[in-house]
Symmetry: C2
Subunit: 205 residues, 2 copies
DNA sequence: ATCAAGTCTGGAACTTGTTCTAGATTAGCG
DNA sequence: CGCTAATCTAGAACAAGTTCCAGACTTGAT
């Protein structure tokens, strides 16, 4: 670990300073517009204007609206993850800590419901052309949950349980965002699915 | 149960015969186009033409492309449900029967992956304006799962488990459709989540 | 059979995501 | 500095979902 501490996008061919600044302005504009009016309010022309770049440039950085919003989600998840690292959950069992972590994330999203709407809709609407990016989001989420469980070397069974928890998390989020489930119901579902963790981690070993 | 056996949409103000026929032609055209090329291939102008109605009429019957595809899903689910009723799952435990049922549904969707893509994308992309219809789909799914469990009067805990299973089912479907998970992985996840059923239904009672 | 209200048709028009083009700017290099 | 390739800008153009409209057709009630 030398001075080269922040290496977020090693795959891309390295951006110049001005390009990095443009990328950041774009993501900021995207989040801003999403916070106002959700998915529909993130209009590519408006994002471009708010970020001070031409429409063509926006499309060079993010090849579609979905790509843009998924990237926005990566950004937000990174914030969340570092916040959570600073204030880890306090429950006794792994299941409790995971449920607590997810509900905390949930309340964070509640504060910006429109932004949550935009990001989650983009995530579930993404087709194959966005798979790599969506996969990154999934890995970030997995990392957050494994952190809460306090595991470094999960078993295949535990990984499967984590995947199921992620499924539940995403889907519950959607039902809440579309007004078909209350926060209370989401809480119950999260707690229910977290019991799976206890199934995969018996007292032994 | 008299001759009035098929009462599917009692909420709407009752359609004439020709209107019912139009509605059916539209749904058929929608499924047809979806089977070919998925969500993107269901273009409203093409649906209208294939169904032999004007574009404005299509929009009178289904106020958006999402409404149309969710209705298409309702239709397909109804088929599936009646098929499943005729050939109930054979597993010994409730968990086994539910997993078997869902995997069977999965294989049915595998046969028409483009159609599955169109319907599921519409379902998860739906916003609040489609909530009632999405809710209907959710209730249909719940009914199928409860059927497989063999329950008439589920406890709240069991209902919560069923909801989590539905969450997992939808989300796993999406990851499979977008090429981020294999069938084998979906199977594992379904079986994993179905273990929740055993947790809510102990040997007693 | 006739009238009023509601429905359907064909087609134009509008919106927003996406693509394309020609010319200006910038970055890297000798 | 001066050149070349890459990048950026402004804006037109295109695609598909959605809305609107004027006129023709149906339906239901009298």
């Amino acid at each position: 670990m030398t001075a080269e501490a922040k290496a977020a996008i090693p795959a891309s061919p390295a951006l110049t300073e001005r390009q990095e600044a443009r990328r950041r302005r774009i993501l900021h504009a995207s989040a801003q517009l999403a916070s106002r009016g959700g998915f529909d309010a993130v209009q590519m022309r408006e994002v471009a204007e708010a970020a001070g770049v031409a429409l063509g440039t926006l499309y060079r950085y993010f090849p579609s609206k979905i790509h843009l919003l998924v990237a926005t989600m990566q950004d937000q998840l990174q914030h969340l993850h570092s916040t959570l690292r600073k204030h880890p959950p306090s429950g006794d069992s792994a299941a409790e800590r995971v449920a607590e972590t997810l509900m905390r994330a949930f309340r964070a999203l509640q504060r910006e419901p429109h932004l949550a709407d935009a990001m989650v809709r983009a995530l579930t609407f993404a087709d194959r052309s966005v798979s790599p990016e969506v996969d990154t989001v999934s890995r970030q989420t997995t990392a957050i949950i494994l952190d809460a469980m306090g595991l470094d070397h999960p078993t295949p069974q535990q990984l499967s349980a984590v995947r199921v928890i992620e499924h539940t998390w995403h889907s519950a989020l959607i039902t809440w965002l579309s007004g078909r489930a209350s926060i209370a119901q989401v809480k119950i579902d999260i707690e229910t699915v977290c019991r799976l963790i206890d199934l995969t981690a018996p007292a032994s070993d």
